[in-house]
């Protein structure tokens, strides 16, 4: 039951990312709150579950966007992959490691979205 609730919450966060995009612009870049949501969940759930959440969140954004279908799913999956890699290397209670994992996740997401959008358009 908890898994379904987490998935539902993350889908809502993904919809909010699209709906609130104009309030989430920092330095000309829209902050992907879905990555932040998944980053929080990586400390509560198993990685395989987080991967499913990332895929569902990405699909939600893909449906609501005009981008290449599957791009956001791929970006979020790679992003949670990066976050988990950092989490596995460092102690999960280490605050610096947590911040680093979030930064890595955000950077991977933006890099994947921007680079693939540029390549495919």
């Amino acid at each position: 039951m908890a898994n379904y609730l987490i998935a539902l919450a993350l889908v809502l966060v993904s919809i909010a990312q699209v709906a609130w995009a104009n309030f989430l612009v920092i330095g000309g870049v829209i902050v992907p709150i879905s990555v932040i949501g998944l980053w929080v969940v990586t400390y509560k759930s198993e990685f395989t579950n987080v991967a499913v959440y990332a895929f569902l969140s990405g699909l939600t954004i893909d449906i609501l966007s005009a981008d290449v279908f599957g791009l956001r799913s791929l970006a979020l999956l790679l992003s949670v992959g990066g976050i988990s890699l950092i989490n596995n290397r460092f102690d999960k209670s280490n605050l610096l490691a947590k911040v680093m994992a979030l930064v890595v996740g955000l950077v991977i997401y933006q890099l994947v979205v921007v680079s693939i959008s540029l390549i495919l358009k």
Binding site: A19, G28, I30, L77
Partner: protein
């Protein structure tokens, strides 16, 4: 881990397939379910941002009140000049012959959100191909240029607003009887600059900016905004100007798509 790689593979498969199939059916179905939630969240966002802005501004309300009092006096003085400005405006309209009433078929649409496109952003509207909206059509609001439709699904469409990165609109800057041709471009999805203006062109802050119609993408005579200031130095070949757009996105709920 196997599940992770499977999902990665499915995502890449979707991306590859989307080069051949448009996924319009899936998107239409998904959007008909998700769009109302997105619209609701968007409205909540607008309302919340207003409340937050008000809460933040409370300490400065007293100062603002005083400033407003002074402004009222200043505005009363300006009212006296209004009549002559109106006459001047009427003469300018006749000279331009472009800003008069336009006779185009339009479709009314509601703004339901912004769509993050990596580098640029797109405005999402709740009307699509079913209402006659297609790629390339121009989006306006009361004669003011908002942007251009770049993607259209059955029930919604995506508009590249003039402030988005990648948006380029040929414009003319009206300074008295002189007109300077330039190009407006979005910067950082929040600012708009006017570039490619010849250095010798005489331009002041407050000059009117309208579409020139060059290139045939945007019709001529749509109100874009006013010159906010000059960004370039005199030594540069072309002038770069800051544009103050004629509208604010935060307060925009409805737009018109020119479908004619």
């Amino acid at each position: 881990m196997k599940r992770y790689y499977t999902l990665l593979f499915i995502s890449i498969l979707f991306m590859t397939a989307s080069r051949v199939f448009s996924f319009d059916g899936i998107r239409s179905l998904g959007q008909s379910v998700l769009s109302p939630i997105s619209f609701g969240l968007y409205r909540i966002g607008l309302a919340t941002s207003g409340v937050v802005d008000f809460a933040v501004s409370i300490p400065s309300v007293y100062q603002d009140n005083n400033a407003l009092g002074e402004k009222v006096i200043s505005l009363e003085e300006q009212l006296i000049d209004l009549q002559s400005t109106k006459e001047e405006n009427s003469i300018l309209r006749q000279q331009l012959n472009v800003l008069g009433d336009r006779d185009e078929k339009t479709v009314l649409a509601s703004v339901i959100g912004l769509n993050d496109q990596g580098r640029s952003v797109l405005v999402v509207i709740n009307e699509g191909k079913r209402s006659g909206i297609n790629i390339g059509q121009i989006v306006v609001n009361g004669g003011r240029l908002i942007g251009r439709v770049v993607e259209a699904n059955a029930n919604n469409a995506f508009v590249l607003p003039i402030f988005a990165v990648g948006s380029k609109v040929p414009v003319q800057v009206i300074h008295g009887e002189q007109k300077a041709i330039g190009l407006i471009e979005g910067e950082f999805n929040s600012k708009i600059v006017i570039s490619d203006i010849l250095q010798e062109s005489e331009i002041n802050a407050g000059d009117l900016v309208i579409t020139s119609g060059e290139g045939g993408v945007y019709p001529s005579g749509l109100y874009v905004g006013r010159v906010g200031g000059i960004l370039s130095s005199d030594s540069e070949i072309f002038k770069r100007l800051r544009l103050v757009p004629s509208w604010e996105f935060a307060g925009m709920h409805t737009v018109f798509v020119i479908v004619d």
